[in-house]
């Protein structure tokens, strides 16, 4: 049963220099219990699209979509109050910088209980116990003591665990993790990823993991959606993506990984991600694609079928036999 269905999501920002399209005709589909990784570099619109879904973008953003349905509820037509009911309870999000995601003026316990108070009707004692239970669930030692700590007294890894505790407090159906481990050290990253996977297995919630790290994707995801310059360019199961990428960007990205290097020089992708001022006509990747021809530079590419990974390309890579 589809938990989240988003069709043709577009987000534009009005700036000093005109309208900037951060997300362009994006489709997202998540079933209950899925683990979807959204991969992209800066400028791919991966964070913006999820923030748009949650209604967390500033007023200058212009969000349009054909369809945005979560758990049967049409998100496009929600009142602010109805939205507040769902966000934080059924859909929750954790962010990249654990040190700045928590309010430095309040204790960790206060913030967890605040999340509980906003969505569940529990007594004070019940909230306290649930907070301790949550901190144990995320693997924080000495939970009672930690409840009274302030964020700056805890390390980055511990703060991220607190964030996760707040996010799972109301047993959400979907957890969106926006680069949750990018700011953490490698050994702590391994701990946090393991925790997220464990929680996903225990609660059966769906997980959308936004990242730019292909290693993290390979370790955790079931399905992968690749974004470039605001558009989705490919989506496949994780094994298929790494073995047989269909879009030239995905192919080039995987080839550029240092661990796949076969010589001193890495196969690199020339050029930069198009920004506001140099958006190409036709395929957005065409200026950097070595196989681009006049069709690519002049016409927007169609989305291929699911056998070709939904690749947005005129000439998707085929891996026959």
């Amino acid at each position: 049963m589809a938990l989240l269905e988003v069709e043709n999501l577009s987000v534009g920002f009005s700036t000093a220099n005109g309208m900037f399209r951060a997300v362009d005709s994006l489709d997202v589909h998540v079933d209950a219990g899925d683990i979807l990784a959204i991969v992209g570099e800066s400028g791919s619109g991966k964070s913006v699209s999820m923030l748009a879904l949650m209604g967390l973008l500033p007023w200058v953003a212009n969000v349009t979509a054909d369809r945005m349905v979560f758990n049967g509820v049409n998100m496009l037509e929600l009142t602010a109050a109805a939205r507040r009911d769902i966000i934080g309870r059924e859909i929750t999000m954790i962010f990249q910088e654990p040190m700045s995601s928590l309010n430095p003026c309040f204790t960790v316990g206060f913030q967890i209980k605040e999340a509980l108070a906003a969505h569940l009707s529990l007594t004070r004692k019940q909230r306290h116990n649930r907070a301790i239970e949550l901190l144990e669930q995320v693997g924080l030692p000495e939970p009672e003591k930690r409840l009274r700590a302030f964020p700056h007294q805890l390390s980055g890894g511990m703060n991220q665990r607190v964030m996760i505790a707040m996010a799972i407090a109301c047993q959400p159906l979907l957890l969106i993790a926006d680069e949750p481990t990018t700011a953490l050290d490698v050994t702590i990253q391994a701990q946090i990823l393991e925790l997220l996977m464990q929680l996903q297995r225990d609660t059966g919630m769906a997980l959308i993991l936004i990242t730019h790290d292909m290693g993290v994707v390979a370790e955790t995801a079931q399905r992968v959606s690749v974004q470039y310059a605001g558009q989705k360019v490919e989506e496949q199961s994780v094994h298929q993506l790494f073995a047989n990428p269909h879009h030239p960007y995905t192919d080039a990205l995987l080839a550029a990984l240092p661990e796949r290097a076969s010589g001193r020089l890495l196969p690199s992708i020339p050029g930069v991600v198009p920004g506001q001022f140099d958006r190409p006509r036709g395929c957005l990747f065409s200026p950097r694609c070595e196989k681009a021809d006049s069709v690519c530079t002049n016409q927007s590419p169609p989305v291929s079928g699911s056998d070709l990974g939904l690749a947005r390309c005129h000439y998707p890579i085929r891996h026959d036999a």
């Binding site: 050994t187 702590i188 391994a190 993290v216 390979a218 661990e259 890495l266 930069v272």
Partner: protein, 344 residues
Amino acid sequence: MASTKSDSPLIVADAISRAYSVNNGWLRPDATVHALSEASFELHAGETLAVVGESGCGKSTLARVLSLIEPPSSGKFTINGTEINPDSGLPSVDLRASVAIVFQDPFGSLNPRQKIAQILQEPLLINRPTLSKSAREAASREMLSLVGLRPEHYERYPHMFSGGQRQRIAIARALMLDPKILVLDEPVSALDLSIQSQILNLLVELQDRLNLAYLFISHDLSVVRHIADEVMVMYLGRVVEKGDCRTVFEQPRHPYTQALVSATPVADPSRRQQRIQLKGELPSPLNPPTGCAFNPRCWLVQPQCQTSQPSLDIVAKGHELERCVDVKSSGAQAVACYFPVNSG
């Protein structure tokens, strides 16, 4: 990864340490943070020595000491024969010119109010006052094209460039005084993957062309594996393992190195395997554990580890380890552990 190794090393470091005193409140005496303790190594021309480790391991402090931003608190090192120790004063112009540093953040390392022309010319303006204006300009323009930027970029401001381009400018600026040694403090960590490969290629090309020595600091093991000749693993200010890059990664001897390699995600879903899960947090430099700094998190810990600090010793042919049971492995590897793994 073979490179022309000259016989005399450009840098010889001998137990350099750097400590800071930190305000510990009104009534208590200042606490001492040992950010770097007794690091010893050599660096040759045309070679890349990588330094890996996590927060608090001292790699940034090492970068600052080696690029002469801060003096060592104890120990000494030589650059091109000139010795630098705690009593050395300000570095001479020649010494300053032999080492340059490239920082991690491409958005903070260039002065937002200066044009690229000014940014590139400044080192020459300060250190080579006899150069004429046109000579300075010619040198800057040449350097700009050497790092792959175009002539029209010369008159622009930094905010008009992307992260990768700014990092190229930072590298160009670092090379203006013809240094022999480049200290690179996480130069590609803040860049996207596709740009990262461009910059790494540029660094490799420059190293070949100019026979530069690199001290490459990074937390990203896949990048290090690709570019480094030798690697030094640091934990809480100490070097715990050192040796040839391939050997250290394929046969890590120190438990921490093993955990680090194991924790790094591999971009291959068919190789999902059981990772070594380190318990606990990174220790605070203000409150280091007694004995071996890694002992609270080490799964092979013995009482000896908690009481005394193992020193870096040769395991075999440059692989250093003290009190190691089996001294058999090949390759140049040094480990600071009483009970190294993969022995025998």
